[in-house]
Amino acid sequence: MPVNPQKNSPRSKSDKLVRWSFLATTTLPFLIVVVVIIVLIIKTLPILQYQSIWQLLTGRSWHPTKGEFGFYPFITGTFWVTFVAMILAVPPCLLTAIYLVEYAHASTRAFMKPLLDLLSGIPSVVYGVWGMIAIVPWVQKVIAPFFNKWLGFIPFFAVNNPTGFSILSGSIVLAVMVVPLIIAVSYEVMHAVPDGLREASMAIGATKWQTIRKCVIPKALPGIIAATVLGFSRAFGETMAVLMVVGNVPKVPGSIFDPAYPLTALIANNYGEMLSIPLYDAALLGAALVLLLIVLVFNVLSALVLIHIVGRPAR
């Protein structure tokens, strides 16, 4: 054993002390996640004793005063809004990311970076205001009549709701909100593909697009999927912007022009005034728990994939 002559010097002691206090601080994020989950589970238990998980998740009627708690309309509402948002957001995001990585000028990239930072910094309530001013009337006056005329026979596009407050409006707002995240992550992932692969492909005569399609995209695919999942979970938990444009009617939606009532909006609208009704707060915290667990699974999966590819979870 080599003897460290400075082992008991004050400097060495302070280093040790700092080390342990830093370590204690480092456990905080992990503890917080665990505590949040445990508190939500404990608070949800009363309603699980009252009805089974299955009843809670698939019940269609929501009448807290009568003691009926069914999350089904809210869960489907959340998924509809999020899925339509992803369908709208992912293709342009990927094309933009490919463009930025493979084709764009350095100056275009330099211009795009602060723009994306800014776009991701805008508060959700401002997106909500934008949605109410611009998107809701647009959907009501332009999109809905157009679909009603040409595609109204498909139930998915049927227009039964004269207001513009609909799944589609919520999805458009959400799509714009997740754009910066998806572009940033997929840019990073495609940027990490080694240049040697591209050069080898070009050297045997492939065009640039063939190189992208056959080399870059397959190599970056898990990362692109992770970027999409990350965007999905971000959209899934968004509250204010969606709440303001989606209509908030607790019914199972059947078309993208129907109003919906996402889980987040349910909590935001009712929490705080639920204390007088028995089990109401347990039901709402149950909603928060469902939200948390779904987002947790998505986040962990995408983080694991990204650690594997980029060497660290990208943001």
Binding site: P29, V39, K43, T108, L119, V126, A134, L230, T239, G272
Partner: protein, 304 residues
């Protein structure tokens, strides 16, 4: 057509020339895809412009000096006199407090992950927890905070709002600091160790200075997120027309001011909501520009 497009700015901006060989069959898909990419790029860049345009167009007419210098007077929510100084100051209080707490916690975490832990299972677990924390919707933090407040018998207050916001900002700040710390050359740390500094001295005298520009960016990023978040302070900070004098009083915030004014049926009040949204956007713009400017200034001292 081809000549026209190639001569004008289009080619220069998008680095895209329409060439004769694009019309060979094997290159058609490339041309189509490239046009689609440029179209997506324009859509994405245009949507930011559209948001700013809409908010400015709607907000500017109702924006006046009384909005930012007065608190709401009697009948404000019916369209009478007053302003939203309470919400502006409230948001600044909330975000400042949250950012300070998050900063105090996140610097040790980032330093530990970078200097002490190395690449171990533990550091991966903490980074994963931070990512999970980042992903937790702010409404869940709000509901969680409110549950804890009820259990402790607290009422909605500035303190509770600050604590919940610090939960929200902690992962953003820590990950941002962590990212810049990774970019420090290993040689710099090794040089510090070689002259006899221990890890704590290296952390405080070398690493922190080196990441100062990134640190400022991280602080402002978290601050901006804190100012803009509504769902987490909805139940925890409450809402009031007064400016709080102690941290145990409820406090107003800008996003909620926008939200509440928008849900009244009076057009005058709704117009003020648009003006409040404009104020919020301007604050975010200022923060964004400030962080670029400061990090540019500070990066002069960084050893590359």
């Amino acid at each position: 057509m081809r000549k026209f497009l190639n001569n004008k700015g289009f080619a220069r901006i998008f680095h895209f020339r329409i060439q004769r060989w694009y019309f060979k069959p094997q290159h058609i898909s490339e041309g189509i895809l490239k046009i689609m990419m440029i179209a997506s790029f324009i859509i994405v860049a245009g949507s930011l412009g559209l948001i700013l345009y809409t908010v400015i167009l709607k907000g500017l007419p109702s924006l006046n000096i009384a909005m930012i210098t007065q608190i709401p007077k009697g009948g404000y929510y019916l369209g009478k006199e007053g302003g939203i100084l309470n919400a502006i100051l409230g948001s600044l209080y909330l975000a400042t407090g949250g950012t300070l707490i998050a900063l105090i916690i996140s610097i040790p975490i980032a330093l530990y992950l970078e200097i002490y832990a190395g690449h171990t299972f533990w550091s991966d677990l903490i980074r994963l927890s931070l990512d999970v924390m980042w992903g937790i919707p702010s409404i869940v933090y709000g509901a969680f905070g409110f549950t804890i407040m009820i259990a402790l018998g607290m009422r909605a207050s500035l303190l509770a709002g600050i604590l919940v916001l610090s939960l929200l900002e902690l992962p953003i700040m820590t990950r941002a600091i962590d990212e810049v710390m990774r970019l420090i050359p290993v040689e710099l740390e090794q040089a510090s160790f070689a002259v006899g500094a221990n890890r704590f001295e290296t952390a405080t005298k070398v690493v922190i200075r080196q990441v100062l520009p990134g640190l400022v960016t991280a602080i402002l990023l978290a601050f901006g997120r804190g100012i803009g978040d509504a769902a987490s302070v909805l139940f925890t900070a409450g809402y009031t027309d007064r400016i709080p004098t102690s941290i145990l009083e409820p406090v107003a915030s800008l996003p909620l001011a926008v939200f509440f004014q928008l849900s009244t049926p009076y057009p005058e009040v709704q117009n003020r909501a648009y003006a409040s949204a404009l104020i919020l956007t301007i604050i975010i713009l200022i923060i964004s520009l400030l962080s670029r400017w400061i990090s540019g200034k500070l990066s002069k001292n960084v050893i590359k």
